[in-house]
């Protein structure tokens, strides 16, 4: 065997081993959470999803946490989506290549790397205290909105830029205005990419802990309005685990895992459906 061939084979073997171990770790983590969480949920029964926790040890269900998590996620995305999309349209279609625009992009990239607990601290100082929102779903949603916005803008911008130039050309040559072209040709074509960004942002919002703990609080109640505080599943998990209630924690972890998995599968399914129709 030549040297080159030996190198080639060993490189292939290493790459294979690394790939396999990545998969093994993934299966290990998911499997462990499922094994410890799911039978435990089953022993509690459906009540786990439909009732509030009981007593000082928070036994029983997680219904208020599910509501808080969904409330916060949906609210933050409802705020983030129009603003993020608008910014992405501006960056991709209208902004040139000026210094100012590069600064916006740079800030967005920088912002997405800031630790979430820093966002949390900002949210606490600004939304909770300065704007007097108190610990509330709204303060939490606004903080999470700031966190997911940069990523949302950048993924949407990429998706819009990936739309072939020839579509725009065809549209403009048919007498459409720039805005008609964007709204009726570019955005529909970019929709799967934008949607993927949105769903990933939802996953991030749903899984956020530190920033939410500082802003939405940890009161285990079902929030009735955006100004009520709440305790998300992640924050609940945090408290249970710090109190040593590991089995209770794994039940919550299993729920979190399945929801985030659901987000990702939905994203995949939507994209596949879209491609079948238009690809």
């Amino acid at each position: 065997m030549t040297r080159a061939r030996v190198f080639d084979l060993s490189a292939k073997a290493v790459a294979w081993a690394v790939a396999i171990s990545t998969m093994v770790f993934l299966i290990l983590i998911i499997g462990y959470v499922v094994i410890r969480g799911v039978p435990s949920i089953a022993s509690v029964g459906l009540e786990f999803f439909t009732t509030a926790p009981r007593g000082i040890k928070m036994q029983g269900g997680v219904y208020p946490m599910i509501v808080s998590s969904i409330y916060l996620t949906v609210l933050s995305l409802v705020i983030a989506f129009p603003i993020g999309l608008g910014a992405a349209i501006y960056l991709a279609e209208y902004a040139g290549r000026g210094r100012f625009v590069e600064l916006i992009r740079f800030s967005a990239d920088l912002l997405s790397g800031v630790p979430s607990i820093v966002f949390g601290l900002f949210g606490l100082a600004f939304f909770v205290y300065f704007l007097k929102m108190g610990y509330s779903v709204l303060a939490g949603a606004l903080t999470v909105f700031l966190m997911v916005l940069p990523t949302l803008v950048r993924t949407s911008e990429q998706a819009i830029k990936a739309v072939p130039r020839s579509y725009r050309e065809a549209s403009l040559a048919l007498g459409a205005s720039k805005w008609q072209t964007i709204r009726r040709v570019v955005l529909p074509s970019a929709a799967p990419g934008i949607l993927t960004g949105v769903i990933l942002a939802m996953g991030r919002a749903f899984g956020e802990t530190a920033a939410v703990l500082f802003t939405a609080g940890s009161v285990p109640q079902t929030p009735a309005s955006p100004l009520d505080g709440g305790r998300t599943l992640t924050v609940h998990l945090f408290y249970l685990a710090t109190q040593g209630q590991i089995e209770d924690s794994f039940r919550v972890a299993a729920v979190l895992l399945f929801v985030v998995l659901g987000f990702n599968l939905t994203a995949g399914w939507m994209m596949a459906r879209f491609r079948r129709r238009f690809g």
Binding site: P164, S166, Y167, E169, A170, S171, L172, A173, L174, G175, A176, S177, Q180, R184, V185, P188, S189, R277, F278, G279
Partner: protein, 257 residues
């Protein structure tokens, strides 16, 4: 209604670069005019002057002289949207929208104000029939346009252009991405369409120009950085059999380009 297109002493600039020098040319209505010439001779630029799409590709374009469609100067206070409705364009690569067959055709009529469904249905059917595509797609109007073959996609793009009743149809090397059979069908279609439209086709294939055009314009630039010039314009048969310029003769006999 087909219209005549007239270039009167036209100079065209991209920034400081003069791309076209003193162009004088009249394109007749209800005829097929072919633009030929080697790459970089400015034939596509001239084509794109007619619907003013050079301005989309490059910043700082400038035109001196006049370009007239039906005696109206399109570089003097004309509304670009209605100009482009009046001048359809078909591109090198078929570029249907990633929408259904129906939506591709109904698209332009819609943005120009047609709302009623029965009216749109009628336009879609008429345009597809005119583009010789109706029989092949009438049962899949709701399928993606991207599921059609390349040749069908290009005919769909032609149907999309004629759905708003243009007066002029510009074709920028419309068969360069197609196989010979699909090319032949497009060429047949062009022959049929000239009854209703003024057709200008840019082509790299001299055989194609000879097969389908009534008149031929030969453009040439004397080298990189030099402006393109119209060397010869006349009836296709005469241009190909008895060119009046030595340069045309050299080009069509394949000695350069």
């Amino acid at each position: 209604m087909a219209s005549e297109v007239k270039f009167e002493k036209v100079d065209f600039y991209y920034g400081a670069f003069k791309a076209i020098d003193s162009l004088q040319l009249t394109i007749l209505a209800r005829k097929v005019s072919a633009f030929i010439g080697p790459s970089g001779c400015g034939k596509s630029t001239v084509l794109r002057m007619v619907n003013r799409t050079n301005e989309l590709v490059a910043e700082r374009t400038r035109l001196e002289g006049r370009v007239l469609i039906a005696d109206e100067n399109i570089y003097d206070g004309v509304d670009l949207f209605s100009l482009r409705k009046k001048v359809g364009m078909v591109f090198q690569r078929p570029n249907p929208f990633p929408k259904t067959v129906y939506e591709n055709i109904a698209w332009a009529p819609r943005i120009h104000g047609v709302k009623r469904t029965d009216e749109l249905d009628e336009i879609v059917e008429k345009s597809l029939k005119r583009a010789a595509l109706w029989d092949q797609v009438k049962n899949k109007l709701k399928s993606s346009a991207l599921s059609l073959s390349g040749g069908q996609q290009q005919r769909l793009c032609i149907a999309r252009s004629i759905a708003v009743n243009p007066e002029v149809l510009l074709m920028d090397e419309p068969t360069s991405a197609l196989d010979p059979r699909a090319t032949a069908r497009i060429e047949d279609l062009v022959e049929e369409l000239k009854a209703d439209y003024t057709i200008v086709i840019v082509t790299h294939s001299m055989q194609q120009a000879a097969r389908i055009s009534d008149s031929t314009a030969f453009f040439l630039s004397e080298g990189a950085g030099r402006p393109g010039r119209l060397i010869e314009f006349g009836e296709t048969e005469r241009v190909f059999t008895n060119p009046s310029s030595r340069l045309t003769e050299k080009y069509i006999t394949g000695r350069f380009g």
